[in-house]
Chain length 361, copies 2
């Protein structure tokens, strides 16, 4: 039996299927690559932990040179603080966490950096800082074309920066950007104007953050940026391959899944569905790539079944075969599971809890 | 402040946002309705717990008259057995659970009913029954047009029934159907032929199960059916509304979510994204319905953000507003969260753990 066949047997006998697996050799290469990209451009590296949600993996990133981490939820930051990580940016407007008292409780334990794009969020942060009796660092989220959250003009940054400046419990510390692929020139103009405006207020941005694994193509293009935050690059997926910033060999996360039925001719059923791989599609064909059968298409999902179209598939799949699936979007797939089985090559070496899984607030 | 505004304040202060909420008054009505539908047609009710994944709610269904429950994963059944529920059908080919030894371990504790559509699954069940030293009840899954798992002809049922009959550790107990909306006549023909064939083998089906909340329109149409299994009807969602078997007033599950940013004109951002409501779309417009603003469209998701198109929205949304979202597909949304906040009307009355959440195997 080949090494990979032995691993498949070992996975199903020890964990059953479907089973989420990461290869730590690839994870380490991916962590080093992100660090090197930042180092080469003179940027601090602040990986976004939304992809792996694991203090174990966050600490590997910090050991490799990361300045700190980025979280998207207060609940994620709580888990990371519990594990001893303290340099944390939370990259979103935190309203639920502010109004439930959880932001204040965590801020009492460790000085956080939070983000806002509106006066309501800033007011909530002020309340939290007062409750924590500790001043809070605030960044302003800026949108230069993604049409996500974020203020859309330097003038709006000025308005918010003034509010932060006027609040004795808040410290203005910088800006958060996620430039679109074709928006780096526009982002430069936005930053240049903002920098000048901030200077007129007597402020400067200690942190100017750019974001995204797809932006590995553009990293370092913003003159004035101080750090980059990328999440998906630790594992990669079909989305980052499609974006041209990773290859199949860089994909560290795979779901081992059994063929549980053939259904009818030209069809097959996997035991992994939307409750394992999720319905995220990103305009890609199908819902994941079978490593062993790239010509098979996961055409749709039921909750616990993947529906294979095998009409273009040269090699037959049999019930009981175990195949490996690389998901379209690894960040949401990891968020479905409580633990990741860690391998190196074909050996199982560890089980890593997804400790911050499902932190809604 | 109105009752619902008070509830929203109470939710965000106690739990933050986004927060999944179920109304137990509606849950109870939905449970009674499903029971009554089955009772009227002389069918046993065996609700599918994949929707709620909670022993608390499963016991409410049993108290209302359900014969037992249906699970989709061995791990779900383990949680239900731990809670004292013993009459369980697991409605899928269980390969991972068989080969990892977990099926045998649970079968040792309680006699399960499992499903197969191929000889490999049946062989795995025989191994599990031997390991458990307890014979295992097996149903055959049949496909009459959904093109999911399931054998596609009565002749295939015969082949599998003979294998089960010949195995001293397995008992043939019946058939599992999920007829398509327009496939009930075909299902009747399939069953009639199968029944005759089984008689020639000296077998009869103690259980003939039909499935699905959308099939509430057709329940009772299969002469010979003994029970029905439906899951989504306990909560309902935009899918069951779209299928014509529920109204908005029957939707027991809502996600309370904050408007955290307005982005730009005609846009808005919710703090619930694909990691809360999931990307399941089912051909519906958008990714959920805002109770307060049905003319707002959740156009797309980031992981933790819902992107609102407000261009058709008559009433403005402000940052800090809390709105309620009914998801496209409640079964996958519930599977994202560890607990459900239970209300009756505008009062919080309980917190119910989603104890079988994320059971992959």
């Amino acid at each position: 039996m080949s090494g990979i066949e032995k691993l498949k047997q070992s996975i199903i006998e020890n964990f059953g299927t479907p089973c989420p697996v990461i290869d730590l050799d690839i994870v380490e290469k991916n962590i080093s690559r992100a660090q090197k990209l930042c180092d080469e451009k003179g940027l601090l590296n602040r990986p976004h932990i939304k992809t792996h949600k694991s203090p174990v993996l966050a600490k590997m990133q910090i050991a490799s040179g990361a300045k700190g981490i980025t979280c998207q939820k207060l609940g994620e930051a709580e888990v990371m603080v519990d594990a001893g990580i303290t340099d944390i940016v939370i990259a979103t407007n935190l309203l639920g966490a502010s109004r439930s008292g959880r932001l204040a409780a965590l801020q009492k334990r460790v000085g956080l950096k939070v983000c806002a794009d509106n006066p309501i969020s800033i007011g909530a942060y002020s309340d939290a800082a007062h409750a924590a009796e500790r001043s809070l660092d605030v960044m302003i989220e800026c949108d230069t074309g993604q049409k996500r959250a974020g203020v859309e003009s330097p003038a709006e940054v000025m308005t918010l920066a003034q509010i932060i400046k006027d609040d004795p419990m808040l410290n203005f510390v910088g800006l958060l950007f996620y430039p679109p692929q074709d928006g780096w020139v526009r982002t430069q103009e936005f930053w240049n104007q903002t920098k000048a405006g901030l200077a007129r207020l007597g402020l400067s941005a200690k942190i100017v953050s750019t974001g995204g694994t797809p932006n590995f193509r553009n990293i370092g293009q913003l003159d004035g940026a101080t750090e980059h935050r990328a999440g998906t690059c630790i594992f990669n997926d079909l989305m980052t391959i499609n974006a041209g910033v990773a290859g199949l060999e860089d994909c560290a996360f795979q779901v081992f899944t059994s063929v549980v039925s053939r259904g009818g001719a030209g069809r097959g059923i996997l035991d992994a569905g939307s409750k394992t791989l999720t319905s995220d599609q990103f305009g890609l064909e199908g819902f994941g790539r079978l490593v062993e059968h790239p010509d098979a298409v996961i055409e749709k999902f039921a909750e616990e079944h993947g529906f294979l179209n095998l009409s273009r598939c040269k090699n037959a799949l049999q019930v009981g075969d175990i195949v490996r699936v690389i998901p379209n979007h690894v960040c949401v797939a990891v968020n479905m599971v409580d633990q990741l089985v860690a391998v190196r090559g074909n050996e199982i070496v560890d089980v890593i809890p997804v400790a911050a899984r499902g932190k809604l607030v």
